[in-house]
Point group: D2
Chain length 353, copies 4
Amino acid sequence: MNFASDNVYGIHPRILAAIEAANKGTSASYGYDDYSKRAEEKLSQLFEKEVRAFLVTSGTAANGLALSALAPSYGAVLTHAEAHAAVDECNSPEMFTGGAKIIGLHGVEGKITPAVVEKTLKGFIRSEHDPKPAALSITNSTELGRVYTPSEIKALSAVAKSRKMKFHTDGARFANAVASLGVKPAEITWKAGIDVMSFGGTKNGGMLLEAVIFFDTALAEDFLYRRMRGGQLVSKSRYLGAQMLAYLEGDLWLENARQANGLAKRLVEGLKASNRIRMPLPSDANEIFAVMPKKLHDKLQAAGVHYHDWMPDTLGPKGIAENEIFVRFVLSYATPPEEVERFIGLVKDLVSA
Amino acid sequence: MNFASDNVYGIHPRILAAIEAANKGTSASYGYDDYSKRAEEKLSQLFEKEVRAFLVTSGTAANGLALSALAPSYGAVLTHAEAHAAVDECNSPEMFTGGAKIIGLHGVEGKITPAVVEKTLKGFIRSEHDPKPAALSITNSTELGRVYTPSEIKALSAVAKSRKMKFHTDGARFANAVASLGVKPAEITWKAGIDVMSFGGTKNGGMLLEAVIFFDTALAEDFLYRRMRGGQLVSKSRYLGAQMLAYLEGDLWLENARQANGLAKRLVEGLKASNRIRMPLPSDANEIFAVMPKKLHDKLQAAGVHYHDWMPDTLGPKGIAENEIFVRFVLSYATPPEEVERFIGLVKDLVSA
Amino acid sequence: MNFASDNVYGIHPRILAAIEAANKGTSASYGYDDYSKRAEEKLSQLFEKEVRAFLVTSGTAANGLALSALAPSYGAVLTHAEAHAAVDECNSPEMFTGGAKIIGLHGVEGKITPAVVEKTLKGFIRSEHDPKPAALSITNSTELGRVYTPSEIKALSAVAKSRKMKFHTDGARFANAVASLGVKPAEITWKAGIDVMSFGGTKNGGMLLEAVIFFDTALAEDFLYRRMRGGQLVSKSRYLGAQMLAYLEGDLWLENARQANGLAKRLVEGLKASNRIRMPLPSDANEIFAVMPKKLHDKLQAAGVHYHDWMPDTLGPKGIAENEIFVRFVLSYATPPEEVERFIGLVKDLVSA
Amino acid sequence: MNFASDNVYGIHPRILAAIEAANKGTSASYGYDDYSKRAEEKLSQLFEKEVRAFLVTSGTAANGLALSALAPSYGAVLTHAEAHAAVDECNSPEMFTGGAKIIGLHGVEGKITPAVVEKTLKGFIRSEHDPKPAALSITNSTELGRVYTPSEIKALSAVAKSRKMKFHTDGARFANAVASLGVKPAEITWKAGIDVMSFGGTKNGGMLLEAVIFFDTALAEDFLYRRMRGGQLVSKSRYLGAQMLAYLEGDLWLENARQANGLAKRLVEGLKASNRIRMPLPSDANEIFAVMPKKLHDKLQAAGVHYHDWMPDTLGPKGIAENEIFVRFVLSYATPPEEVERFIGLVKDLVSA
């Protein structure tokens, strides 16, 4: 039973098959292959807008490169205090942007609001002694399992635009957000004011399946240089393109996300039924955050269930009790449904024991 | 007929099979998987020394990250004027090192010598107004198709050591060098004074198959941080590990390189026999540099043969004649031998026509 | 009446005289002059330890360069959330360090504590996904007018050492801290565990009078390169050296700081006596933070008194009332004492009016 | 007798007097003072165009900051192989630009030509694998004592513009160029196509007297942030402004340069007359490059004459003989004319001895 992350699971068979199918003959390299070109076209169709799409090999690189096109070295990027770009990327955004400041804002349930952005910008009173406000970045679905709705994104966009800031979305779990909201991809991206996104497919069935997508294509002007400089232009790029094509084909991306989200919903029900595990954050997508008694946790560990504990600070001043632990479960398209049931049963047994 | 580069060919079947075989169940991610661990062990065996090996996704990133462990931001890296790290990576080494200066030295046939290194360092007379000499970097086999012998490397190492500089080798075509020289991997790396290498397998049968290997393991101390910050730590790292394992298994790496080198040798013979194409640089590995009449070139292009033209500056003051063109052919393990023969036949026909 | 900052006042006559006296004949340049050399010797005497001291032209550069010797690009520097290096230097520490993360910690009255440092480091649970904890930095006297005592510094040093982190102090107002505490310079620097400091004299009578001082001289090994690369090696360095010599001569630095601190003490008394202005933060050195009714503020502005308003967030959840304003007054060695009295009188008059 | 550099001499009395005169009362700081503002106005008058001018503290910083406004991190700056920005600034341009590549071009007598620029750009055939050509930079007067004429600059500008590159001039010895050419400042700057310049006054009578001047003011948009981030915004900025005002007042800058150039001319005559010293490079400004017998050099050294030896590579393939040495003499506005005569006499005596 492994709920540690959605990246512990492998490649979806249709994506693997696409890699195999691409493995014949010669192909142009370094991004000039047909697969990469068609992947860009397919993404334009998906987003109902002519986009520029650049394939890269990691979500961290996608974020850093995307932000480098938005924020100068003397700029500031405002994001949530628990955003991946703020705390999980070991100064990678700083590297790609040449030293921009990534400012983590507090916000309940992993989401930032226009109010907290405005308040922060109000504190930029030292003229050039402060960095230049350059970009806003949100993760959707968020690192805490919630989703931003189109109207929430539009409200943030309005603040960004009023300050001439650009707007980025980290879509490492974009498919899960779309599946959760039941919207079209455009509705939570460019139609809501997003300029650039990190489009992640690795967690949702890919092998190395990440793209930087520009809705404001003017911002992509020099991005070929940025990707190359960033060490993210792979020679045998056809295999990245082939993955993306298979991921989009027949809405595999959405199908996988729906499956993962559905398993999460089932797990939430099952855990709630235990009456020993509470979920202080609503679970909108494929991540579940839960507080459980340490004793129960110890037993689950002993039973070999994999999941991560999380910083209780996330919950703010209320926090957790001494004898409790705060943990995260992540569901994948590939998580066997029977394991979810087995886990629910195990919890039930341990609680009643 | 495609001799444009060794990266226009695909994944070797045994490597692709390894990716498929790895695609079951769950696996630890972000480099903590068993495949990556075993790949490091296998590399230690290959090099007859306990190494630290870090898998990454591009040769450019491997070079930049490797150099970042050797050269501080105020340092200088001395390499050949046509080295990949000097002219083919769009300021990527500058990004990874935080702004070190990559100094391209002149050298016949793509190789630098102790003499040119000494001469350059002698010019560092401005104390801290010059950057600090930090590292030497050689490509083996070189960008111009030649190889450095163990004794040549040792001689360069002696200069580096005398100046407290570290020594890096870009092994994007390392296998071709080993195959050409008939040495053991250790003989042209750590036994000859190399501290760190970029070990490339992508051009020789991999999909994304690159590693930074530390022979001086003390230099690897913080490399986990560097790789993460560099956007080069992929989540589903098992697929990089699996590629490396298959590449090393049964000496596939060497077998492939021998095949490519052998084809190059055959092509050299064939072209020489035409009496219209001269090869000003000896071809030690799988790259051939040739000067041909422009007219012949036009006919080959019309016949759909793929290869790149090259800057004649490479040849120094002698250069080429007005009606000539300087070109490069690269052979891959996967180049169909019959295409080589077909190409030789085509040249013969065109010349005699 | 100008209490806006200590940098609105000019050069102390003895320092100006030293610049003039140095202005004869020729002198070695770029830091190899006798003045710079003697300044380093004098600083060694002052600190009762052989130090390495490097003159630079701004406090921001001093901080950035000092931190660059302590924190790698993939490192984290922990400091107070209102530290100059965290919020007043427009990504300058990020530039000099090559992208290290400057993490601002919360702490009452501008001071960080071992507890908050420990708690923060406890949150670094993501191995290399977090930056490497590299350095601690404190400002003494702090940006909020308080001082760190020797024992407070030692306690922080113990935490730093236990995590193999280096320890930096921003001494932009170091003289005011020494004058306030009545200690020897060594007691709040290397004897308390400080490895490197930014030694500022500009605010206290210099023109451009800043130095980076290494107590752990091993850390200074390549600092000549860092200063040059940082654009901080001036050609006519004798004038920086001459300023430092005059500043140290006859303890001018301490005399000036005592004067400024004394005026601050007098102003605190005077303002308190008004019964309309409260000072939520004790004033240890030459800065005073005060809360006053907005109406009174308006009248003081109308009367042409210069001082800055400050972010009320500094005061934490208690904050200020709607009709209040939070402001800062800074006293200089050169503030005319009669202006302090005039200001106190003005407040008294306005309050009683 | 000191001909080592123009920076071994001190501050011109009128500039020192201006510093003293500025030293009264309070003043706005961090660049918002009246002196800095008036300096910008005066520079606009001098250049007969509304410019944006930013005072900084070193020529190295001026160059780096200026280039950072022209070249992105993935860009290339083309300059002469012996340009200060290429070889005398310890990776400082790399720091300020975030890693742009500074490419040193060969050119006789320290000057680059449209032909060498075109040839270099022709070699940028690897699309994004090459950096993006971003800027051209020339030093005037050059590091080898020559000057660029208005028409030479215009010709380079035409190349730059045709490639959408920006054009920078390093004016560390700009006054000497103007004095030599007998032109107006505008004629060798914006009227000839220069977008941005480093305007140096330190070598010509200042203490720390450097400015970045934008003729294309759109490029200055975010320069306040860049200067602050660069550690180059000094708090007591009035003293930089006051220096600049005095430097421009009554054409002191030009007067000083004429004096230095005149002394250089006299020294050239005197050395030529010795018949033992040859000057392979014409001396247009205040620097003289000379080849002399080593024996003569030894005697001059013994007599205590200060000057630097130089890399003979500068002279290209012709070079110097075994028993010769290549040296540089620099004249300052403050070099005592009698020392020049004394030196000429000494050479004469030694030669005839």
